[in-house]
Subunit: 296 residues, 2 copies
């Protein structure tokens, strides 16, 4: 299944009409636009000339048969094929130090054979998905915002080889994704990564017996609990809470769970510049497995 990048949404909502319907277990390739809907083609362009109603498009949504509210959807990221150029921007008022940015600028970043060219710096690419999500139960979440449904998580762990698990809120889940970065620092401090169009190939699987309230990312080594909130301090508290809850659900008493997290759980920053901030608590998977965590 190939979903073209002329089929996009700008917000996640239950009313979005699916552009395709697939079986549980399918492999899908999403052709994605960059976060500016591919509007930037030159560093001479004015940032004000962009249509700001067309930022962070997510290709889709796709209806996955068998996905029902209360299930989870596991999305295995098989391949991210980048376009041959990316773009970065500095925009007054945006980013951690947006107040210091006096005028906007745009930078075109050529990409070739896993290298991104930032002037004369050759940067190894680390492709990741910025926006990935499903429909919320109700309401409408702009693609530029992170939340329990996913959305603009801007999390470096959403990369090839990893799996992201999202809560299913409506029949079919309605998965969409976009906003690929050739490379982004944790935090995305200046509000863009190296933004690029791409083709993203994923496998989708419905999990009937594993529930998540916010996105969780896994691979063989780690389980990462994501949380988004108005402040990083709140996001960190929520992510810690999820980690503790998983351990106490597995039978540990609260103090044991907390001390274990304090020794082996890493609080990390996903991004601090989208309307909400996203943090993650990363646990070694073998420890959770040893205590009985089963995914699938």
């Amino acid at each position: 299944m190939f979903i073209k990048n002329d089929q996009v949404i700008y917000s996640f909502k239950p009313e979005n009409k699916p552009v395709a319907e697939v079986e549980n277990g399918s492999i899908i390739t999403f052709q994605t636009c960059d976060c500016f809907a591919n509007q930037i083609i030159s560093s001479e362009q004015s940032i004000d000339s962009l249509d700001w109603n067309r930022v962070n498009p997510a290709t889709g949504p796709v209806f996955i048969r068998g996905a029902e509210p209360g299930d989870s959807l596991k999305v295995s990221i098989l391949k991210i094929k980048l376009a041959n150029s990316g773009v970065m921007a500095a925009i007054p008022g945006f980013g951690v130090l947006g107040k210091r940015v006096e005028k906007a600028s745009i930078k075109i970043i050529p990409i070739n054979e896993n290298v991104a060219y930032f002037n004369d710096l050759l940067l190894t690419v680390k492709p990741m998905i910025g926006v990935i999500g499903v429909a919320p139960k109700e309401g409408e979440f702009p693609c530029g915002t992170p939340g329990k449904h996913g959305g603009n998580l801007d999390t470096n762990l959403v990369c090839e080889g990893n799996e992201i698990i999202l809560p299913v809120n409506v029949p079919g889940a309605l998965l969409a994704l976009g906003d690929i970065h050739a490379r982004m620092g944790d935090g995305e401090v200046w509000v863009t990564g190296i933004e690029t169009a791409a083709e993203v190939t994923v496998k989708v699987e419905v999990l009937k017996n594993f529930k998540v309230s916010e996105p969780v990312i896994i691979n063989d080594d780690i389980v990462a609990f994501l949380a988004s909130a108005d402040t990083l301090d709140e996001a960190v508290e929520k992510a810690t809470q999820y980690g503790v809850d998983v351990l106490t659900d597995l039978g540990l008493d609260l103090n044991e769970a907390g001390m274990l997290l304090s020794a082996v759980g890493d609080l990390q920053i996903s991004q601090v510049v989208d309307p909400l901030k996203t943090a993650r608590l990363v646990m070694p998977r073998w420890i959770l497995t040893k205590y009985g965590l089963k995914i699938e």
Copy 2:
């Protein structure tokens, strides 16, 4: 030079009398107590029975000849030799979820041959220094608090093989350290790592031509700018500011510096449970070197 653990301070201040004086370039071994001043010897002990005036002792301080205000002090961490047991605690009101902790508990963690035994979990140790600092210019900073002078940074990067650079505020710098952890998750969410006594061997060198305003950690691969503040959001902003300032001092214009940081700078969490919170911006060292950063 060997400094015994009966020579400790509980706060960093200019008035602390040095317990030893060494030449620039010396190698020093600090024998350290754990963060509870080695008061806990059994998990049956009541946390209330501890003398809370004796927490986070730092062994020292040591006067380094030639260190003058305005210089920096580079401390190369050569070796951290752990004791054969550690301790963890859960304490009502402390840690990210302190409000959920109803009663205190203490846990003894045996350590043997690079493994810490958390019940039946065998955890590989990752020794690091929690408290390391120099005298501030004025005032008094309890060893439990992080700050520009160092202190309770609780940063996993302060480990064997890495170097921490501290600002020199008074003649001789007055270096002291303690609060070793056999292992700690980033964030230290439940307020203790695996706390242990240790012997820490470092080399001290005065840097005349490299200034830092807050602690910086380096190794061959990275340069990490630390910042502590009341909230994680503020700490992250300060750390980002340091990173940008270094790049603009090296000649990059602000927007270029910001975009570069956004692509290659990782915002990370050191700890979120000491009276101030500590974040770090981690940059690839080769990029800073390419733009002309010289350390030494």
